[in-house]
Amino acid sequence: MKVLWDLFIAFFRASNFSFGGGPAMIPIIQNETVHKYQWLTNEDFTNVVAISNSLPAPIATKLAGMIGHRVKGWSGALAAIIGAVLPTALIMIFLGHLMINYADSPALQAMLKGVRPVVVVLLAQSALQMGQSAFKDKVTWVLGITAFAIMLIWPGLNPAFLVVISMILGIFIFEKNFESEIH
């Protein structure tokens, strides 16, 4: 039982003491799970992160699920995920509740009007950060610009299509780049 609580606390701390989401959480999770509670070795941790990175969905929940399960089966996974996800999710729901009930308040409208340009900037910053690791050679530029053009010409298109196609294309185009790496 104590283990479940520990899992909850460990992932609660890791998730809620790190801003900026995703990668920022990884060192903290490592500190908690490898050094503090010694649930797995550094090598184990690296493997878990590598495996988690190979699939989609939020990294925090993936790590919580995998490590939690390793420690205490399904209830461990549940405890860890709840610790990582629930507190901020509940706050968001509370905010959502406020939004629904006070949507017409001029004060709220004013605050939101002030924050929207910041969202634009933050999104642009995310794009820039991703762009730094994305555009390594000419072909990636072609892919990026083509996707951009397609979305502008055809706004109704679900970007999910582009994601899937780009991954398939990626396999054909870039596989030879990585073939030489032997593991």
Binding site: G21, K113, V118, V119, M130, M151, A160
Partner: protein, 179 residues
């Protein structure tokens, strides 16, 4: 209600399970599903959701899922959206676990990710543009205050390394004062 819940599940299932390339990758996909596809909210409301999600710690995807799920269908909505976001991948990870290790290091995966990252970058730019169209209401009497806030926050981010959370709170205060 039931159709809403099912649609919520599918929407967040798709958005979450195609979000290769990290947290922010989910944002354009969620926007496409919730704003463009299902018209559950406007781009302006979506921007508000992103703002609030960035103001809190924790995983971005689940925060947005909980918030939007609640807005669409109250508590059941939030739960469904969260489950759709978390469950499939976690199940795969737990059940397949060790087997995935070989796949994780495969050249195919690296190649696929190399292909997807430029696309995700393009998608993020487009979402930023869509938010901008609403925030700045590109029209003749351009709202200079909004532009100022945008430029100011970009500068703050780069030169002062101001924390995004502070930025969000500050801009809300400024908004309250100006508007």
């Amino acid at each position: 209600m039931a159709t809403d819940l099912w649609n919520l599940f599918i929407a967040f299932f798709r958005a979450s399970n195609l979000s290769f390339g990290g947290g922010p990758a989910m944002i354009p996909l969620i926007q496409a599903e919730t704003v463009d596809n299902h018209h559950w909210l406007t781009n302006a409301q979506f921007a508000d959701a992103i703002a609030m999600a960035n103001a809190l710690p924790g995983p971005l995807g689940t925060k947005v899922a909980a918030y939007l799920g609640y807005q669409v269908a109250s508590w059941p909505g939030a739960i469904v959206a969260l489950l759709a976001t978390i469950l499939p991948t976690v199940l795969i990870l737990i059940v397949l676990g060790g087997i995935l290790k070989k796949y994780a290091n495969s050249s195919n995966l690296k190649a696929a990710l190399t292909g997807v990252r430029p696309i995700v970058t393009a998608l993020l730019i487009i979402v930023a543009y869509e938010m901008a169209v609403d925030a700045f209401r590109i029209q003749v009497p351009l709202d200079y205050a909004t532009v100022l806030i945008a430029v100011g926050s970009a500068a703050a981010l780069y030169f002062l390394k101001l924390h995004p959370v502070l930025l969000i709170v500050l801009s809300m205060v400024i908004g309250y004062l100006i508007y």
